[in-house]
């Protein structure tokens, strides 16, 4: 079941490539939409059959390279299932949004189908090498998306920077994985076996170095300060669909790695260096928000808010590694909040990036001061963007609040000062989003000169449906969160037990 979900997009991609170029551009996208919809339906079926109390489910193990301790091992639990569902939903939204795409559509669709398989594969992987392979392939796929469909020469430069930077990160990750492999007896890359064995317990400096390698690898992908500078150019020059996937799914691979690999496999070092992780998280929160506040480019600003939002995740997982002064409830809240934040950020920032794509499509620029009073011309666009902005700044009623409230309440006990400092992040994001809304959408109507004399058109259906759907799911999570939290909470309790051992 899980393998079908994972490889269905790749299968369709292969079929599309093998067939002659017979289809129209629109038909390719429609095939993609159908594939994504079927995949999402399968995940919904998976979700209904999922029992949160049972831990890892739908497992499948196949021998792959037994000599090197590598196997094909997949499975989902409460940490990965929400992200698998998010992946399917976001790819479907992006597929619908791409209906207008006319440029080399066959390759475009195939790349995104490939990326979907890679992303799903990463979240279900229960083997370090399998994880690493998908981790690397995601970089390759996204490189071609940015280089091929980004904004010209700058896009190619940004793609190269993205590729090299995150690739170095993945090499660090591989180094850490090999460190784990060598420490385990018998040697294995299997996540479940490694989690059970806890191979680096009591291995002091060696364990610290392995955590450093894995931590740096994941921190680059997440990204956290100071490893974040590949993100703004990659986002700014990527096509809207690519940005949405990059922010919505690819960034989660780093954050997910913390809860899936770093915390359960290296509990001792995680607890030992929890303070470092917390500091990195709190700095990312405040620094990301402050730098975002100073941006003059709408898309770049959203890119920096990603640093801010992922900073909350890092803060929470760091605080969950601090046993002193907390009880299990607080730590479980923090981890649940972190996973919820990953889902929430995918939904809301995905929508925001799609909306910034609309902005570029209409005005050919992201410069905030090029626009004014857009709400007069495009009321629907303004309304949806305003809702997305408020959702992103963590207003209750949307998923962001559910995530951040749990992160703050769960982290404050153990890391009071860092959490109190990080708290100002929600004020800064409020300030920066209000500033952007005021300058671009409200006030006296004024359009950039690049807009044709025919005027500016409001959201079309292919733009409204994906963005509003994403925000609607964020709203549902914000108002009735239990269906999601019921899945995550048992898994986060497991994680904190593993960390505490």
């Amino acid at each position: 079941m899980l393998s079908v979900i994972t490889f269905l997009p790749l299968l369709v991609c292969a079929i599309l490539l093998l067939l002659p170029r017979a289809l129209s551009a629109r038909a390719y996208i429609q095939v993609w939409i159908a594939t994504a919809a079927v995949d999402l339906a399968l995940v919904v079926a998976l979700w209904t059959g999922f029992d949160p109390g049972e831990g890892m489910q739908y497992q499948q193990r196949v021998r792959w390279i037994p000599g090197a301790g590598v196997g094909y091992h997949v499975g989902v639990d409460g940490l990965s299932l929400p992200l698998v569902a998010l992946t399917c939903l976001l790819f479907l939204a992006v597929a619908v949004y791409s209906l207008k795409e006319r440029q080399r559509v066959r390759s475009y669709v195939c790349l995104f189908l490939f990326l979907q398989t890679v992303s799903l594969g990463l979240f279900v992987a229960q083997d370090l090498i399998l994880f690493f392979v998908f981790f690397d392939l995601s970089i390759v796929g996204m490189f071609f998306v940015i280089a091929g469909w980004g904004h010209g020469e700058r896009g190619r430069a940004a793609a190269l920077k993205f590729f090299l930077y995150t690739f170095i990160g993945s090499l660090a990750l591989l180094l850490g994985f090999i460190g784990l492999y060598l420490a385990a007896e018998p040697h294995t890359f299997d996540l479940v076996d490694l989690t059970r064995a806890n191979p680096l317990a009591g291995r002091g400096a060696y364990a610290g170095l392995v955590l450093l390698a894995i931590g740096v690898g994941l921190a680059i992908k997440t990204p956290t300060v100071p490893f974040h500078t590949w993100l703004p150019p990659a986002h700014t020059d990527a096509p809207a669909a690519g940005s949405a996937i990059l922010a919505g799914i690819l960034l989660k691979m780093g954050a997910y790695g913390f809860v899936r690999i770093a915390m359960p496999l290296l509990p001792g070092s995680w607890r030992q260096y929890a303070l470092v992780i917390v500091v990195v998280g709190a700095v990312s929160v405040v620094y990301g928000a402050l730098v975002a506040l100073a941006q003059t480019d709408f898309k770049r600003m959203i890119a920096y808010t990603s640093v801010n939002h992922m900073g909350y995740v890092v803060l929470a997982v760091g605080a969950a590694g601090t046993l002193a002064g907390t009880d299990a409830q607080a730590r479980s809240l923090a981890v649940t909040g972190a996973v919820t934040q990953m889902v929430s950020h995918g939904l809301i920032t995905g929508a925001l990036f799609l909306l910034s794509g609309v902005l570029y499509d209409r005005g050919r620029t992201y410069a905030i001061d090029a626009y004014s009073g857009l709400a007069a011309h495009t009321p629907r666009f303004a309304g949806v963007t305003a809702v997305a902005a408020f959702a992103s700044l963590g207003i209750p009623g949307f998923s962001g609040f559910i995530a951040e409230f749990q992160i703050f309440t769960g982290s404050l006990a153990s890391r009071t000062v860092a959490t109190a400092i990080a708290l100002t992040g929600i004020l800064l994001t409020a300030a920066l989003f209000l500033r952007a809304l005021r300058s671009m959408f409200l006030g006296v109507p004024r359009l950039p000169q690049s807009i044709p004399t025919g005027g500016i058109s409001d959201l079309e259906r292919t733009e409204t449906v994906p963005t509003v759907t994403l925000l609607a799911v964020a709203l549902v999570i914000g108002v009735v969160p239990r269906w999601l939290l019921d899945v995550i909470e048992p898994a986060s309790r497991t994680v904190i037990e593993l960390v505490a051992r």
Binding site: T336, P396, F405, T409, A420, A430
Partner: protein, 645 residues
């Protein structure tokens, strides 16, 4: 039932807001209908006292309940909302986006209903923040005007700054073991978390209630439409802060320092913002400052343990202030101005508005036997029980309230000037009439404002005290009642006499008071500008230093590659040199081979050939020559033998 109470305005409001202009014709009617239905449910809930809860987070529930205090609040909120929406139905023409206005107003009051019925902190915080966000959308309702949107931003950001206190309190409560975040469990948290919780709650409440030093946002909030002001300044938003302090009084009492701090903040705000109100020349600004000041009395009551007193003050003020704002709004619509000198005689032109405003202003002035006089005496009685200083400041604030109310009343009741039109239409084009929907809500609110003082009569007062769970609260003694009445009358008389004198040139102190104590400027200087500057500096740092370091590393990598390339070239050159050397060697060897060895071989060969040729010469084949040769050879041999021997 309690879920119906909150989902009705929230759900209907959200739907109305989303439809926007599409059902513009129906929006006011639908909005009022929903408000009336909500009022009905609220009254029923106040009688039946429902409660309910649902799981929210791990170990935390979202609880809702209507108890004594909440019962008062829900009815007040629903009633004021209904009146204000009924008024707004006539104020907003079909060319405005009525769906958005009515939808947002319903969501706004729905959020207030959740705030006053929530029994756990997460749910309260959710409603609290939604209310703030909705206030942003309402204040910035006329979004084409940049200064209005700016005002909305100021209001939201200021209140959200204070809201951080609630997040902090929630985290501290979990840390302190009150993991359920039940409001009743908060006072049991151990120190030091108890102090963090209390501090957070106090800051959040003071911010929402526009107490010092947060008061300035309320001035900016005046940029919103009048019905929004009427709702925001009376039963919702600002009232939420006072409500929270009244609700969490046990928490304030548990710390020892929080009660006096809150009481003094309230008293000082009541006095200073009262002075600010006196200095205003704009009717809505004056009413805004007076809101801050009147809320100071509620906060004073909460800090000094006067739960019933604070509640009475809250309810009475909600009715009074919403009525006054509606009257001011009606004048603004009709005459296009809210400038006090321009409104001279307005009460005479618009009799009904004038009457309602007069009653409202007299109530606000605290004149007996109207409601706020009675409510304020209850508050002052609590303050007196706490400390005489508090009582004195509160009494002074009451006198100031009389001064600003009477000042406003003086302007509007003056005879019309010779050319009243000159001052009109400064804000917008007035309609010169009042809408058909204006009188009913205005009269209802004004009537309520006048008579709600019965809550302070001994019988109802003790009922109220039992209801809110504070049966031992002090009641005002006869001398206190008399003193406050005397002070109010004296101040009112003084204000009337003072107002008729020509206005002196504003001194710096007056300008200071007129500018709301320059609080906003201070906030900009101390907080906003440094943060923005820091943001810019960090953005530059991020570009130049952080990314610069990455670029340096990349450049370093390139340079290393280049050096490696050069080294590689060197190696290659060496190889080529070696090859060339080899070649040269080969060539040399070739040459040696050619010129030396081969030549020597050739020479030997040539020598041999020469010798051969030479050897061939004697062999002529002639016998006589052979003979001669043998003879010569023999002679040589003989010669050698002879010589050797």
């Amino acid at each position: 039932m309690i879920w119906l109470l909150i989902s009705l305005p929230l759900g209907a409001g959200a739907v109305l807001g989303v439809t926007g202009t599409r059902c513009n014709r129906l929006a006011p009617a639908l909005g009022v209908a929903v408000a009336v239905a909500t009022l009905g449910v609220a009254v029923a809930a106040a009688v039946t006292r429902p409660q309910s809860s649902a799981p929210l987070f791990a170990g935390m529930r979202a609880g809702l309940a209507v108890d004594g205090l909440s019962a008062f609040m829900v009815v007040t909120v629903a009633a004021v909302t209904t009146a204000v929406l009924a008024f707004a139905a006539g104020e907003f023409g079909p060319d405005e986006n009525r769906g958005r206005l009515f939808g947002l107003m319903l969501v706004f009051s729905g959020a207030m209903l959740v705030t006053v019925t929530a029994t756990t902190l997460p749910l309260l915080l959710m409603a609290w923040e939604v209310m703030g966000a909705t206030s942003w959308a309402l204040i910035g309702y006329w979004w084409r005007r940049p200064e209005r949107v700016r005002a909305a931003d100021t209001a939201f950001l200021t209140t959200r700054t204070a809201d951080l206190g609630l997040y902090l309190a929630a985290g501290a409560a979990v840390a302190g073991g009150a993991g359920s975040l039940d409001l009743r469990a908060l006072p049991d948290a151990p120190s030091p978390w108890l102090h963090v919780i209390t501090g957070g709650v106090v800051v959040a409440a003071l911010g929402k209630s526009a107490q010092l030093p947060f008061s300035f946002w309320l001035s900016r909030a005046m940029q919103g439409p009048s019905p929004v002001s009427a709702l925001l300044h009376s039963a919702t938003m600002v009232a939420a802060g006072a409500y929270l302090l009244l609700r969490l009084h046990p928490l304030l009492a548990a710390t020892g320092w929080a009660g006096p701090l809150v009481a003094w903040t309230g008293a000082v705000t009541a006095l200073f913002l009262g002075v600010v109100a006196v200095a205003q020349r704009d009717l809505k600004q004056m009413l805004a400052a007076s809101t801050s000041s009147q809320l100071g009395f509620m906060v004073l009551a909460a800090g000094s343990g006067g739960i019933a007193a604070g509640t009475t003050q809250l309810v009475a003020h909600a009715a009074t202030k919403s009525g006054l704002f509606l009257a001011a709004g009606a004048w603004l619509t009709a005459l296009g101005t809210k400038h006090l000198p321009a409104l001279r005689g307005a009460a005479r032109t618009y009799r009904l508005l004038g009457t309602a405003f007069t009653v409202g202003a007299l109530t606000l002035a605290g004149l007996p036997p109207l409601s706020l006089w009675a409510a304020k005496d209850e508050v002052l009685a609590s303050a007196y029980a706490e400390s005489t200083g508090l009582y004195a400041v509160g009494l002074a604030a009451a006198a100031v309230a009389a001064v600003y109310s009477i000042k406003a009343l003086w302007y509007v009741t003056q005879p019309l000037p010779d050319d009243p039109e000159a001052g009109y239409d400064t804000e917008r084009d007035g309609t010169r009439r009042t809408a058909r929907t204006t009188p009913a809500p205005l009269l209802v609110l004004t009537f309520a404002a006048a008579v709600l003082g019965v809550l302070a009569l001994p019988g109802p007062a003790s009922w109220l005290k039992r209801l809110v769970g504070a049966p031992d609260e002090p009641s005002p003694k006869p001398w206190e009642v008399g003193l406050s009445a005397g002070v109010a009358f004296a101040a009112a008389g003084l204000a009337w006499w003072w107002a008729s004198r020509p206005a002196p040139v504003p001194s710096p102190a007056v300008r200071w008071a007129r500018g709301w104590l320059h609080l906003e400027r201070a906030a900009h200087t101390v907080v906003v500008r440094p943060v923005l500057r820091l943001a810019w500096a960090l953005a530059v740092f991020d570009d130049r230093v952080v990314d610069g370091a990455v670029r340096q590393v990349a450049r370093g990598g390139l340079a290393t590659a280049r050096i490696a390339g050069r080294v590689d070239d060197g190696i290659d050159a060496a190889v080529r040199q070696t090859a060339r050397g080899g070649l040269a060697g080969a060539r040399l060897a070739g040459r040696v081979d050619d010129g030396g060895i081969d030549a020597a071989v050739d020479a030997v060969a040539a020598g041999a050939r020469g010798l051969g040729r030479a050897a061939r010469r004697p062999q002529t084949g002639l016998l006589h020559q052979y003979y001669a040769q043998a003879a010569l050879g023999f002679a040589v041999l003989v010669l050698i033998v002879l010589l050797v021997r």
